[in-house]
């Protein structure tokens, strides 16, 4: 009998005693834990709380845009500018960047490697504590007169505005350290803690994706840290770096900012690729198509991602030659991304496809990410970008990728690993319904914005031409539908936590290592160190569904 490992399933049935959730009690046992799963759970709930806050600002923005000019009573243009700044900064720095790596990754990565924990558990805890500190500074900015610079902090506006830019920028600076710590930890963990028999090309694709992400986190984040520090120095001491009135150069800030923030969009999307690569084979009951290509393309995207920042600046006055090089490299990234999509689709060919919630999110991802990806083509073409730059077309494009791609994959992964992390099955019917509402809501919100943009609607506008009202209202309706979808999702997941542990060890019939320990896992993850003898998506034929425990067990020989 060829199972993936030589370890026997500890217990395929729901664990009742002594797992990582109940082996210690009390607030301090959580706040000072060194257990990667508990740190991951704390990250998860912190990220979800930030998502609710960032989402509230998104709904305020959309409600304000229901009509041109003032709409909500009391919401001035200044407040609107603060809303979109907070929405962007919270969603980028507090939600999407830590969402998949720090929350899901922390819970799952060591389990997928059959390890007891990450390489540096104390550094891992510190990463979370530093994250909380950074989040506090962001919230401090909110209290002291929220920044109104946009999440991009472009100078010289950000050195002149009277709002609390310094706490927000300092918050992002501190959050960067948290991101670096997590990345460093994952790189070492993946190099040193793989189990016996797990060669690089036997690693699950989620691990490959986290590895590529970690490389970007470690290499790019210091640049934004230094840039934001220079901004703070300029604002505080009047030392001219970016402000031309002091002898600085505002375009330099744009270069520095995008040198980090373009790679950062890959910090946001590459982990999503990893999640999708896990879900599709498991729910198609078939090994993934083109494993090596998907694995290596994540690394290729991570490296090329460093060389394209200038495509945010085709209208900034940078030289034609620079723009040309940035445009060409941008197109190069499109190729591996396109091939990944084709590989995911091919994996489904002749599979046996199960449509539970995680797979619905994966299919939604394929749909919206393809739209998000191809609309990037318009923006990579320099002459067309000159028209579309800084319009709602760009807003729609990156929301299709970040919201439609990263958040959809995050929700898919959350439902996929929920039984493992919390030992309970969520309500499947409700899960499917909320996935559908989220999918419809996000298309209704962001598709009209493509049309708004190409027709002439600039971004970050409080007031707009009357002719755009209809499309804006469509988008606003979509946003509220999306909000309802998220509330349903939250209700479906959180209400399962009231139940007794009822999740089997392997509800989806997956063959990666995290499914070979109990749900939820014991404190030390595995009773004996697992050994790997085949690829991460091999051996589905050796598992069969056991109705009694509602999960998969090895086929009896």
């Amino acid at each position: 009998m060829a199972t993936t490992t030589t370890t026997d399933f500890v217990s395929p049935e729901p664990s009742t005693t002594d797992n990582y959730l109940n082996n210690e009690k009390g607030l301090l046992s959580w706040l000072l834990t060194l257990d990667h799963k508990r740190i991951g759970v704390m990250y998860l709930f912190s990220v979800l709380a930030s998502f609710a806050l960032g989402g509230t600002f998104a709904l305020l923005i959309r409600a304000e845009l229901w009509t041109p000019g003032p709409t909500l009573p009391g919401v001035t243009a200044d407040m609107y500018n603060q809303f979109f700044t907070l929405h962007g900064a919270i969603m980028v720095f507090l939600v999407i960047i830590p969402g998949i790596p720090a929350a899901l990754g922390n819970i799952i990565l060591p389990l997928q490697l059959g390890a007891k924990d990450v390489a540096f558990p104390r550094l891992n805890l510190m990463s979370y504590h530093v994250w909380i500190l950074g989040a506090c500074f962001m919230l401090l900015s909110l209290v002291l007169g929220a920044a109104d610079t946009g999440w991009t902090f472009y100078t010289p506006y950000s050195t002149m505005t009277e709002t609390a830019v310094i706490p927000a920028a300092f918050g992002a600076f501190v959050l960067g350290f948290s991101s670096i710590f997590t990345g460093l930890n994952f790189i070492v963990t993946i190099h040193k803690l793989r189990p016996k028999g797990m060669t690089w090309f036997r690693m699950p694709l989620f691990v490959w994706a986290l590895y590529s992400t970690a490389l970007i986190q470690v290499l790019a984040t210091p640049v934004i840290a230094i840039t934001l520090l220079m901004l703070i120095v300029e604002r505080t001491f009047g030392i001219g770096i970016f402000d031309p009135a002091l002898g600085g150069d505002p375009v330099l800030f744009e270069h520095f900012f995008w040198f980090y923030s373009h790679p950062a969009v890959y910090i946001m999307i590459v982990p999503a690729f990893g999640v999708i690569s896990e879900i599709i084979p498991v729910f198609s009951r078939k090994p993934i198509f083109g494993y090596k290509f998907i694995a290596l393309s994540s690394v290729a995207i991570a490296i090329l991602g460093f060389l394209v920042w200038g495509h945010h600046m085709f209208t900034s006055g940078q030289s034609v030659l620079a723009g040309t090089i940035f445009s060409a490299i941008t197109f190069l990234i499109a190729i591996p991304t396109a091939i990944k999509t084709f590989n995911w689709i091919s994996t489904m060919y002749k599979g046996r496809i199960h449509l539970e919630t995680p797979m619905l999110y994966a299919l939604a991802f394929l749909w919206v990410f393809t739209i998000g990806g191809v609309t990037g083509m318009f923006l990579a073409v320099m002459s067309v970008d000159v028209h579309l730059h800084d319009t709602y077309f760009v807003v729609a494009h990156f929301h299709y990728v970040m919201m439609g791609g990263s958040i959809t994959a995050f929700l898919g992964g959350l439902h996929y690993w929920w039984p493992k992390a919390f030992g309970r099955m969520y309500n499947e019917q409700l899960g499917r319904l909320s996935a559908l509402v989220v999918f419809v809501g996000l298309n209704l919100t962001f598709f009209p914005q493509f049309i708004l943009g190409s027709r002439g609607m600039p971004r970050r506008y409080y007031n707009y031409l009357e002719e755009f009202e209809g499309l804006h209202q469509l988008s606003t309706v979509g946003a509220f539908l999306l909000g309802i979808g998220f509330l349903l999702t939250a209700y479906g997941l959180l209400s399962s936590l009231r139940k007794k542990f009822d999740a089997p060890a392997n509800p989806w019939g997956a063959t990666t290592l995290e499914w070979q320990t109990a749900s939820p896992p014991p404190y030390y993850n595995f009773a004996t160190p697992p050994e790997v003898t085949q690829g991460p998506y091999d051996g589905y034929e050796n598992l069969e569904y056991d109705e009694k425990i509602r999960g998969y067990v090895p086929t009896k020989a």
Binding site: Y154, Y157, Y291, S327, T341, R352, Y461
Partner: protein, 331 residues
């Protein structure tokens, strides 16, 4: 009287109207390059739509055809190869060829947009929070007036933060960067008025920092120049001031109804005694108004931020007199 004048001028204050366009996804094509950019946009749109719909159809077809009945049935997937070199090379090379074509066309268009024809009519534009000022042929105006079928180079500067000059109907855009000049060019192909927007976020009234480009026939352009000259020469000072206040964006910070905005209201301002941030008080007279226009940082009214830009060199004596007289008229 001044209030009435403001009301007849307020038609100027209405936002520009989006001109009717024969294209659903794009504004009208009103410049020489807009056709070529829309052509490329449409090529990408078609190819990308085909790819997207293909992906969605393949996905939907596979879900329907290979859908599993239930978990209990324990169906096994058919064995297929786990990679296929020919297929993988095909779907790498085909997108590569397509993207190379996109890149080359985009590059050509960009070079065209960035190569300024030598014999262009030059316009200087100054961007400041939150208005545009266009200067050429000896006139300054808040709207850009140009003749049709003429190459125009717009030289852009900013006095404060980043802005971006965007004329959607001409498909061109360029950032206004403080501390350096940037430029763009266009050749309008049809007469009419087309909106201008600020596309780079610049603070409170970013979304109201609009203007419009008025494309005249050659004859109308000459007539416009003559009329501008006459207006400057023959308009009574109060009316000239009211017009300038509108055009130069004074009303984004100063009200004429007594309510304070970013700066003090002009209503009842003249002749009143006010206190200043340096602790002094002053009765506002003509000289103080002139000083505040030309060197606004010299004296800052208590309770207001020192945020007014200078208009020194942008207004001639007659125009400053007009503004002073207009403010005096607001009792």
């Amino acid at each position: 009287m001044a209030n009435q004048l403001f009301h007849c001028l307020s038609s100027l204050a209405a936002p520009p109207k989006l001109p009717d366009s024969p294209f659903f996804l794009m504004p009208p094509q009103a410049s020489t390059i807009s056709g070529e950019i829309d052509w490329l946009f449409n090529v990408i749109l078609w190819i990308c739509s085909i790819v997207t719909i293909g992906v969605i159809i393949a996905m939907a077809y596979f879900v329907k055809k290979y859908g599993a009945k239930s978990r209990i049935a324990n169906e096994k997937a058919e064995k297929t190869s786990e990679h296929n070199t020919t297929l993988e090379i095909a779907w790498s090379v085909i997108p590569l060829v397509i993207t190379i074509a996109f890149f080359v066309w985009g590059f050509k268009g960009y070079v065209n947009l960035r190569t300024i024809p030598r014999d262009s009519l030059e316009v200087q534009v100054t961007a400041q929070k939150w208005s545009w000022l266009f200067e050429h042929s000896g006139f300054a105006s808040a709207e850009l007036h140009v003749p049709v079928n003429t190459k125009v180079r717009v030289i852009i500067r900013s006095t404060d933060v980043l802005h971006a000059l965007w004329i959607p109907a001409f498909r061109t855009k360029m950032d206004a960067v403080p501390g350096r000049y940037t430029d763009l060019w266009f050749e309008a192909t049809q007469t009419g008025t087309f909106p201008i927007h600020c596309a780079e976020y610049c603070g409170r009234s970013h979304s109201d920092m609009w203007s419009q480009v008025v494309v005249h026939t050659q004859a109308d352009f000459e007539a416009w120049k003559k009329a501008e000259q006459d207006k400057n020469d023959n308009t009574p000072p109060v009316a000239l001031g009211a017009k300038l206040a509108q055009e130069r964006g004074c009303f984004s910070c100063h009200s004429i109804d007594g309510s304070p905005k970013v700066g003090p209201s002009w209503k009842g301002l003249f002749g009143s005694r006010e206190s200043y941030s340096d602790g002094t008080t002053l009765v506002i007279d003509e000289n103080h108004l002139k000083e505040s226009i030309e060197d606004p940082q010299a004296k800052i009214r208590g309770g207001f931020p020192p945020s007014m830009p200078t208009f020194k060199g942008q207004l001639n004596d007659k125009q400053i007199t007009g503004l002073v007289e207009y403010i005096k008229s607001l009792k």
